[in-house]
């Protein structure tokens, strides 16, 4: 478990570095970003493998029942800062079929919106966790407030776009640190939404995912403030990459699908 906390912390630091590299003078340093992405990948692998050795093996129905138990135990263990993100992931994962879980998890960690096999509101979740991460790295970042505001406004607008049923699956426990107004409005949603998500089928996921794409892309733009023209441009860009190589041997369907999701958006994070 300590590895998981450490891995998560390293991931958030890495993301902060990638973000900051964008505003650094002299342009993006390819070498440094490559190294940071390697660390990010290693941390993510540890984080995921740690998770898989734990909760993934439980049946979904069991998980639902134990959902709140898990959350409470997590809360006891970890300080509030880590608690929120962990709980977010725990809850989401516990509610979703394995495929979607890993997808969200990866997205959450990498501040990347989910592309294809996403669950109803991965993007809000990723935003929320992005907020978490952004806040955590705010000590390093020079524009913490800007990040937060960027995070919050697209969230609100996307909420409007996607409607009531897409309320983010934030648990009632994640209220403390940040997004005052947002959280209060979500507090009522989680219970209802849990059921909705569980019953959603994969067939509908594709539709949702397409809508997600638009929403995600606009969020990316807002979050990173980039003009969208060079999203997939390669020059000066730093690849996220070897996610493919690393996970190809895993043999798990969910991992492969997660990776497919990562690819289009992996360049987004580095294509500036």
């Amino acid at each position: 478990m300590e590895f998981k906390v450490e891995a998560h912390r390293i991931m958030s630091i890495s993301l902060g570095k990638i973000y900051n590299s964008r505003v650094q003078r002299g342009g993006i340093k390819l070498h440094k970003n490559l190294l940071v992405s390697l660390v990010l990948r290693s941390a993510r692998q540890v984080y995921l493998s740690d998770f898989y050795s734990g909760a993934c093996l439980n049946a979904q129905s069991e998980r639902e029942g134990k959902e709140w138990d898990l959350i409470d135990s997590e809360r006891e263990k970890f300080p509030p800062a880590t608690e929120e993100c962990n709980q977010t992931e725990e809850t989401r994962q516990n509610d979703q079929p394995p495929i979607n879980e890993t997808v969200e998890k990866a997205d959450d960690e990498e501040v990347k919106p989910d592309a294809e096999h996403c669950t109803p509101t991965p993007e809000e979740q990723s935003q929320n966790s992005s907020s978490d991460l952004a806040d955590r790295v705010s000590s390093e970042s020079s524009v913490p407030d800007a990040i937060k505001q960027n995070q919050e406004s697209p969230t609100d607008s996307t909420n409007a776009t996607l409607g009531e049923s897409r309320q983010p699956q934030k648990t009632h426990v994640c209220t403390t640190r940040k997004r005052g107004a947002e959280e209060s409005e979500r507090d009522d949603a989680p219970q209802k939404r849990t059921k909705v998500n569980v019953t959603s089928s994969n067939a509908s996921d594709d539709e949702e995912s397409e809508e997600m794409d638009t929403g995600n892309v606009s969020n990316l733009i807002t979050i990173f403030g980039s003009s969208f023209s060079g999203l997939l441009s390669k020059d000066g860009a730093k690849p996220e990459a070897e996610a493919q190589d690393s996970d190809s041997g895993s043999g798990q369907i969910c991992c492969d699908q997660m990776l497919k999701n990562l690819n289009p958006w992996s360049t987004a994070i580095v294509a500036f």
Binding site: E6, A7, I10, I13, K17, R25, G26, G27, K29, L30, H31, K32, L34, L35, L38, V39, S42, A43, V46, E140, K234, D235, G236, A237, K238, P239, E240, A241, E242, Q244, N263, S266, T267
Partner: protein, 439 residues
């Protein structure tokens, strides 16, 4: 190796560290007479060694400022909306062929060839201009005279003779002059280009490791250098910890290496940051060309050019940092690129560390020493005292504990005189020059 090093301090006295004054490269010329430094503000300062004089024997060989010029200015790439830093990444001297000195200096995108020449005579007695340079009224000129050269105060002027630009998409990290004195190479993260010193509008790409799909990128080039004697041979190091030696006679594009120097990673040392600390920050041929020295984050390794599977020698620079990698990652220190240098006889290695420490390793006696470049410890002609970092347990009186090291004071750039025991150490915005003790 003589451990007693006398400090001959040439330092810029400044109260606060101005970012643009941070020294980013240090290089002796081939005779050691000149020492060039480049800084983050794009300036080059050249020091010249005083001639020995019998009148003042104690001032033997001090370095004084010889020339200062602005080599690079900040630029803006409008196409990519990127600012190009003016920081001087590397300076390399050309061998001297006439009275003037030539050096190459580079920032992230552009290499410039500078000519540094002296002017100690001035023509006087023009017909059309008066002494202040104003044009004379032709009607007042009644006689003709031939201008004569009169001595004047020494003036050192630097003029850019060649500008080699628009050849690199990524950031240039190295330049290296070939032993043929006709060509040089410039290296960025993914490509190495070969230039003729005379021709600025054309360069040849000799190494290209850019993958077709950038998402498959796994390593970048971190440094490259020509062999000191063989004009067809060069090496380049990668972020994965490998060094490739290439022979330009084999093919025009040297993507396939002739030799690959790589040491398998020790699995017991694996951590999140293994890849970062194995990235090579500097590679240098020995003067003889028989050996290679590489610097990664924690160690210096000496390789025999004829043995690829493992290094000949490994020296730990600051292994006590191994347990602190996470904090060093957070404060970005883990990305620091330390350089390493050989002494003139290839018997001693030198590299920098934190807290303004620098380390020397004697390959023959296997002894090493840690010294500090700081104002307090370096009164002129004082002898430097070896320092020691306490790694655990009881700290002795003169030792420094790992936790009290100042990681903002790092020595990344050092240089060693080609034939004498004179070293130049850049500590942030100060340059320290140390000499061997003279009896």
């Amino acid at each position: 190796m003589c451990v007693c090093v006398r400090a001959c301090v040439r330092a810029c006295v400044r109260v606060c560290v101005c970012a643009s004054d941070i020294i980013s490269t240090v290089e002796f010329n081939s005779t050691g007479e000149l020492l060039a430094t480049g800084d983050k503000g794009g300036r080059v300062v050249v020091f010249q060694r005083e001639q020995e004089s019998k009148n003042q024997p104690h001032r033997r060989g001090e370095y004084n400022v010889y020339s200062t010029f602005q080599s690079h200015e900040p630029e803006f790439d409008y196409l990519k909306s990127l600012e190009i830093e003016e920081k001087i990444n590397k300076i390399r001297w050309l061998p001297q062929q006439n009275a003037a000195y030539f050096l190459l200096s580079t920032n992230d995108k552009t290499v410039k060839l500078w000519k540094i020449s002296e002017r100690d005579k001035r023509p006087e007695g023009y017909n059309l201009k008066d002494e202040e340079g104003r044009i004379r009224d032709p009607t007042t000129i009644t006689a003709l005279r031939v201008p004569v050269l009169r001595p004047m105060d020494l003036m050192v002027e630097a003029t850019p003779r060649r500008i080699f630009s628009n050849a690199h998409t990524y950031h240039i990290n190295s330049i290296s002059v070939n032993s043929d004195y006709e060509t040089y190479m410039s290296t960025d993260d993914l490509r190495i280009n070969l230039w003729n010193l005379e021709i600025t509008n054309r360069s040849f790409n000799i190494v290209d490791i850019k993958p077709a799909n950038m998402e498959e990128l796994t390593e970048v080039i971190t440094a490259a250098e020509f062999h000191p004697n063989q004009c067809n041979t060069f090496v380049y190091s990668s972020s994965k910890g490998s060094i490739k030696l290439c022979d330009m006679r084999e093919s025009a594009l040297c993507d396939n290496h002739s030799k690959l120097f790589e040491e398998p990673e020790d699995p017991s040392n694996r951590s999140f940051f293994s890849e970062i600390i194995s990235s090579i920050s500097d590679v240098k041929f020995s003067h003889s060309g028989r050996y290679l020295m590489t610097r990664d984050y924690l160690a210096v390794k000496v390789w025999d050019v004829n043995m690829e599977n493992k290094p000949l020698e490994t020296y730990q620079v600051h292994d006590y940092l191994r347990s602190k990698l996470c904090s060093l990652y957070e404060n970005d220190c883990i990305f620091d690129k330390f350089e390493c240098v050989w002494n003139g006889t290839d018997s001693v290695l030198m590299t920098g560390s934190y807290n303004n420490f620098f380390r020397m390793f004697d390959r023959n006696t296997k002894r090493d020493v840690t010294l500090e470049a700081s104002r307090e410890n370096s009164k002129p002609r004082a002898i430097l005292k070896p320092r020691k970092v306490c790694v655990g347990g009881k700290r002795r009186k003169d030792e420094i504990s790992v936790d009290s090291l100042d990681f903002s004071k790092k020595i990344l750039h050092t240089a060693w005189h080609p034939s004498e025991n004179i070293i130049a150490v850049a500590a942030t915005n100060n340059l320290y020059i140390f000499q061997d003790k003279v009896n």
